[in-house]
Symmetry: C2
């Protein structure tokens, strides 16, 4: 038996979303059929609204309905420090810590020669422009500890050196609450490497 | 920082779907913003199409755009055997085995006194009517091995006894490829209990 056609189509749409496999897609689609018509209509219009109203901030390339975005317009935030992240979701993760009160710069990607993504394909030019035009005292690189994140950090580190500003990178090491015994070797090596005096 | 409003709304919609937590909901919503406008529109209309066109088959209560559904209309299928399942997704799982060629009956739920769901809240009446009106030779109960599934199987077993038809239940036991050593006690007990002569 094949799925009835509109259901098959909906399952396929769900399956195209990240981290949704065929079983979950089926469960979600069957759930939608059981939702009230009103709920489904609201969901559908919310999809379209999000897609059509959310743009990128022209300063930091964060997702926002307005440009400049809420963060760039916020006068209470420190204008002299920029935290560089790969994606809006990383920005959100840092905002949730409530520990950071500076600006952001969303690269919208990472350098990845294997995928053919070079420095010109991400928002590096725009970062340089911001540093040139503003009184920036520190750039924090908050990129994933992956091959691409490391490559991009290295590249940006070299590129920003001539500006004579403080360039830092977030710390990699043991996550809090974890046990040394169960840490993988790479993490432990980085933790050792990044040891600080007490 | 709060999410920009349309994004927050979309994240909330995703979060209402089953098995989608706040992190996944955020990832899905950010993904939608990155999809092409056309893709998002197709997704949205597919949601509404599935909701508005899919009804339940008046015979077996399977989800379908037409009533009777594809399975009930299929003349090549055995009309003398009914497999009783709780939900359309269980029907789909059995269909995927390609091992069954009879009819189905979707109860649209299971008896669950804790949740206040009794035999009248699920499609039991309609099952009795079908058995009365048609020449049914066997009823297979294919309900989950849960408390509710067991209760419903027990109830249906008693209810159908007077009809003098064959009533069977799918086998519970060790899943294929599993190891006896790692099976939980309940499964192992059921496997022992359901032993068959060879």
């Amino acid at each position: 038996m094949e799925y009835t056609k509109p259901l098959a189509k909906l399952i396929e749409h769900f399956q195209h979303l990240p981290s949704i496999g065929p079983k979950t897609a089926q469960r979600l689609a069957l759930h939608v059929v059981k939702m009230s018509e009103n709920e489904v209509k609201n969901f559908a219009s919310s999809l379209i609204e999000a897609k059509t109203t959310i743009k990128y901030c022209e300063i930091c390339f964060n997702m926002s309905c307005e440009s400049p975005c809420e963060i760039c317009r916020d006068l209470t935030r420190n204008k002299n420090i920029i935290c560089v992240v790969a994606e809006t979701k990383d920005l959100m993760a840092i905002e949730k810590t409530n520990e950071y009160n500076g600006q952001y710069h969303v690269l919208q990607g990472l350098i990845s020669p294997i995928d053919g993504i070079g420095p010109d394909d991400i928002r590096v030019k725009e970062l340089l422009y911001r540093i040139n035009q503003n009184d920036i005292k520190e750039v924090i690189l908050a990129l994933n500890p992956s091959v691409e994140g490391e490559a991009t950090s290295l590249y940006l580190g070299k590129l920003l050196k001539p500006f004579n500003i403080k360039i830092t990178r977030i710390a990699f090491g043991l996550p809090l609450g974890s046990e040394l015994e169960y840490a993988d070797e790479m993490t432990l090596a980085r933790a050792l490497d990044g040891r600080v005096e007490i």
